[in-house]
């Protein structure tokens, strides 16, 4: 498990980004639920923590794709692939993330960079 932040430091409606590779973000919804997903939009290099949180969905800050925080599913283009979801555990007021073992769906520009290809 990776410690993310103190729960008291993550107000409702806000997100906290973990600068790991690839980055992961924890969202605290207006209803008080916590979710963790991959932070990078599957379409292009954009941080979903900067996005528009409404209910259990976050809209990419650049374009219009919305991701369901519960499932990672995407609703509309330009993104076509879901983001990974991760388990959130709160212990002693500290938010932790247990990372998914699945392969991430990173956007083509990031995948190319990580693979050492021309980007």
């Amino acid at each position: 498990m990776i410690p993310a932040c103190r729960l008291a430091d993550l107000p409702r409606g806000e997100a906290h980004r973990l600068d790991i590779e690839p980055p992961v973000s924890v969202f605290h919804t207006d209803d008080g639920e916590l979710f963790a997903i991959d932070d990078t939009c599957t379409h292009q290099d954009a941080s979903l923590a900067d996005g528009w949180l409404e209910g259990c969905e976050v809209e990419c800050p650049l374009h219009a794709s919305k991701f369901d925080l519960r499932t990672g599913a995407v609703d509309a283009p330009p993104a076509k692939l879901p983001v990974r979801t991760h388990e959130v555990v709160v212990e002693d007021g500290m938010v932790h993330v247990r990372l998914s073992a699945d392969a991430p769906n990173l956007p083509p520009c990031i995948s190319a960079r990580l693979a050492g290809g021309a980007a």
Partner: protein
């Protein structure tokens, strides 16, 4: 309704087809597209696709597991709409009869008179345009972009990153003054000069020189700008010629109500070709934004299926983005009519700021440069404030 024909197979047409199925329409669905390609995303054509960072497969708008149960008539140009027979005529002589019609034929790039047949001269609107331009940019050399609007600026930015020698020519004194206003148009277009790209403003283009291959762009003031490749980015016109004589009301595209309904019953129009009534301003406005093509078909399809018996919701304020020289530019609202613009976060010198446009003290638009987080918050508040 037993057959719905969607004329146009780009984002607006695809969004309409999706909305039809999402709303439970289970009849025959025919999607007619002039290009031979399945729906693809156009914004990357001037950016990542032109740069070679992403390929054609990445442009596909449909998901691999998506099944709309539609008949795709691709490479089929619509040439007429027969209102009595309720039929769409195609260039190859075929006819598609339909009870409901969604017009989504988009817009076409304006060209420069006299440029026909000259190699090295491009417009950028379609995948085929982008392939051809990418091949020419790969030769390097000197690129001259005619038009300092968003498409022109993005091509200039991509070509600069590819190592070309780039000049941008803009007829108006300030590029982007229409969408962003004079002040911010100057700030955003300064990205060119920041990077050593030449920007010539306030001078018109007289013509092109060259025998078979373009050699230079000739300016109204007598100057000649040498060029190996020329991109003409001087806007787009709605593709509605095929509707002439159909009886549908045309006025800067297809004239529509606030829910996309046209003057013909059973016919709606969406996307770049549609001039929707804007309840905020009380005027018609043809919006050429990607997000409009994505979001508005839902309202139009609802009106089509309900035979107009719906109350159109208030659309989200128009939003667009651009990426130039690694800087993210985001804009929501309408700059036209604003009487002030103030930088409220960051600084224009850093090319990282949030600027708010107001008219009589009321916020009418927000511009962000490299501030996606602040911009998203401002856009969210904007949506509430404007409704």
């Amino acid at each position: 309704m037993r057959t719905v024909a969607v004329v146009g197979a780009s984002l607006a047409g695809l969004s309409a087809a999706r909305s039809l199925r999402q709303r439970g329409y289970d009849g025959r669905l025919v999607v007619i597209g002039e290009e031979s390609h399945r729906p693809y995303d156009r914004p990357p054509l001037s950016k990542e696709f032109l740069a070679g960072t992403i390929g054609e497969a990445d442009l596909a708008l449909e998901r691999d597991d998506e099944e709309l149960h539609a008949e795709w008539l691709l490479g089929a140009r619509a040439t007429g709409l027969d209102r009595t027979a309720r039929a769409i005529r195609l260039a190859d002589g075929r006819e598609v009869r339909a009870d409901g019609v969604v017009i989504a034929t988009g817009a076409a790039a304006r060209t420069l008179p006299g440029a026909e047949g000259l190699a090295g001269v491009h417009v950028l609107r379609t995948l085929d345009d982008a392939r051809a331009l990418r091949d020419d940019l790969a030769r390097g050399g000197r690129l001259v972009v005619i038009g300092g609007g968003f498409v022109g600026a993005e091509v200039a930015s991509t070509a600069y990153a590819l190592g070309l020698d780039v000049t941008v020519i803009e007829a108006a004194p300030t590029p982007l003054a229409g969408p962003l206003g004079e002040t911010m148009g100057a700030v955003v277009s300064a990205l060119h000069t920041d990077h050593g790209v030449r920007l010539l403003c306030g001078v018109g283009v007289k013509g092109l020189s060259g025998e078979r291959q373009v050699e230079a762009v000739l300016l109204e003031d007598g100057r000649s700008v040498p060029a190996d490749t020329v991109v003409v980015g001087v806007g787009a016109r709605p593709c509605v010629d095929w509707l002439e004589g159909s009886g549908i009301t045309l006025d800067n595209g297809v004239k529509c109500g606030a829910d996309g309904r046209t003057s013909l019953a059973g016919v709606v129009a969406v996307g770049d070709c549609a001039n929707w009534y804007d309840p905020h301003t009380g005027t018609h406005r043809r919006v050429e934004h990607w997000t409009g093509a994505l979001e508005r078909p839902a309202a139009a399809v609802a009106a089509l299926l309900a035979h107009g018996a719906t109350e159109p919701g208030v659309p989200r304020a128009p939003y667009f983005w651009s990426d130039q020289y690694g800087v993210k530019i985001q804009f929501v609202g309408q700059a036209a009519g604003a009487d002030s613009v103030t930088v409220e976060e960051g600084s224009t010198d850093d090319r990282s700021f949030l600027a708010v446009y107001r008219r009589a003290g009321r916020q009418v638009a927000v511009l962000g440069m490299n501030q996606p987080r602040l911009f998203t918050r401002a856009r969210k508040q904007f949506g509430t404030a404007a409704s």
